[in-house]
Amino acid sequence: MSFWSVDSKGNGVVVRFFDRWELSQLQEIRTAGKARTQGAGAVTLDFTELRALDTAGAMELLNVIGWPQLPEKIEVQGGDPRFQSILKIVRERLSADEKVGVHVSHSFLAQLGEVTVNLGKGIAALVNFLGQSVMGFLSVLSRPHSFRIKEFFVQLQTTCVDAVPICSLVTFLIGIVIAYLYASQMQQFGANIFIVEAVSIAMCRELSPLIVAIIVAGRSGSAYTAQIGTMKLNEEIDAIYTMGLSPMQVLVLPRVLALIISMPLLVFVGDFVGTLGGAAIADLFLEITPQTFIERLHTVFKLKHMVIGLIKAPVFAAFIGVIGCRMGLSVENNARSVGLNTTSTVVQSVVAVILLNAVFAVVCNELGY
């Protein structure tokens, strides 16, 4: 079925249009090709048998008669008067520019360069922000009353108290897994009793700080970015500035300090619960009673292992808090940016924590701890 027909009439042509010229029909109309109107002095468009026309149809109609090189003289006859007004408005407003919706794609090299430059800028901005936070902290020390004590305790509640169950669960399970791993190996040598130092030292020195830091990065670091980012979208950060306050003082310091206090507490809980998990496995599979476990713990476990773990915790916390707040404050003026920055916070925090942990390991080893 044809959508149009062309007849010559005098020195011009008559194009008759049939059927419905609508969005849903557009593909079929387009496959039918173009009408030959070039060179015709005058073109008459006959709408008598046209049953429907919408703006997309009108655009296609113009395409059919040769858009953007339209014949000089175009007449319309017959049909619904609305068709003419639709054709008129589309003709006025249709742009001749073909280049629309071009997707800009970069080469691999350009992308690599962009990522590298952004990484450099990100690190510079983080160091800058870390410095600002320290300055903010010092200025609070000189004027203690300007510290937001209420905000601090609210954050302490959410980052510490509310995180105890999840941290306990995860470190307990990790304790169990580590104990299983050692149990299956040590049974072969009859070295069952060594599970005590294996689990307790691994948990307190390395695993508990690391696992808790990862949980805190996912739980609190991301929440900081999302909270502060949404506040920025809502112009609340601008409002804070206008009132003569600084977001550093009102938002960042209470959060970072709350995290620095919370983390060691959570790590301590993790130390305890993780070792408990190990003791449970030792009792069930290696016939080491809890009593024996505790006695052995007293003789072999040195306090320094726990202290090293607890010293790491506030350092990790400072980085997680500062990264979370910085990414929140650097949210751009659109909703998508909040999501991107939140993801970025978690990635940056986890990478930072693992890097710092490696630094701690090297330093402790060199110092002989």
């Binding site: 609508e22 969005l23 849903s24 557009l26 593909q27 387009r30 919408d54 703006t55 997309a56 655009m59 395409n63 609305r82 007004s85 639709i86 008129k88 408005i89 589309v90 407003r93 249709l94 742009s95 520019d97 280049k99 629309v100 919706g101 071009v102 800009v104 751009e332 003026n333 659109n334 909703a335 998508r336 940016s337």
Partner: protein, 252 residues
């Protein structure tokens, strides 16, 4: 022919709070209709009910003769392609360029090839008065007025017969606001669109609106051409229309 929009004794209650006690009106022919009312009079709630985002507590709302509450999902989907909505702040998807924003309904609801979709996107941007260069920009790079136009282009994507506009001129300067008004009028006249807009803008009422519906006290306080509504003797309507007269008297 069934009325385009038919609202019959709609009641809405949020908890103990009655928003609409008895709201009824009908729109039969293509025209520009404005919905006005004080803050909390339930204009936006009513608009959300008409476009099917909220359910009224009682009463019926029918578009093109079809009751929104009694349509099956397939029918509702089809119905939704027949009207377009311009949200107050544009609600453009911030992850997509302007062109991709306009193309979303076309890609989701039709099987048209990319080439044709591209052409339609260009036409829609033209119809809403945006230069073609805007297509590759991201929504965050646009000014308020441009964002509204881009959102209008997206609302027009599927050739709707009804267009719902939530405060189309809020946040625009008077020059841009009047230009947007003219665009609305042109679309209504040229394309035979029915346009229902929620507004606070007196200049929009005076400039382009055929009919005004005033909501208040949970019902329709007045309904008719602007001049007739202006003459209605009701305290809220009187103070609403004299707001600008007061401004002029104060010399501000």
């Amino acid at each position: 022919m069934a009325p385009l929009i038919e609202i019959k004794s709609v009641q809405t209650r949020f908890g103990e709070n009655w928003v609409h006690r008895d709201v009824s009106f009908t729109i039969n022919e293509p025209q520009v209709v404005a919905l006005i009312g004080g803050s909390g009079s339930g204009k936006s709630v009513l608009l959300k009910e008409i476009i099917g985002l909220l359910k009224p507590t009682a009463g019926t709302i029918a578009l093109f003769g079809k009751d929104l509450q009694r349509t099956d999902p397939a029918e509702l989907r089809e119905l939704r392609t027949r009207f377009g909505v311009l949200f107050q702040n544009g609600a453009l998807f911030s992850a997509l360029s302007v062109a991709d924003n306009v193309a979303v309904p076309l890609r989701e609801q039709t099987t048209l090839p990319e080439e044709i979709i591209n052409d339609i996107v260009r036409l829609r941007l033209g119809l809403s008065g945006l230069p073609p260069g805007t297509a590759i920009k991201m929504p965050s790079e646009l000014s308020g007025g441009m964002r509204k136009r881009a959102a209008l282009a997206r609302a027009l994507a599927m050739e709707p017969q009804i267009l719902f506009l939530d405060e189309p001129t809020s946040g625009l300067d008077p020059i841009m606001a009047r230009a947007f008004d003219q665009l609305i009028r042109t679309l209504c006249d040229g394309l035979g669109l029915t346009i229902l807009l929620v507004t606070h803008d007196l200049d929009t009422l005076d400039g382009i609106v055929d009919r005004v519906i005033v909501l208040g006290e949970g019902r329709v306080l007045a309904d008719g051409p602007v001049d007739r509504v202006r003459a209605v003797d009701h305290p809220w309507i009187r103070s609403y229309f004299s707001a600008r007269a007061g401004q002029a008297a104060n010399g501000t």
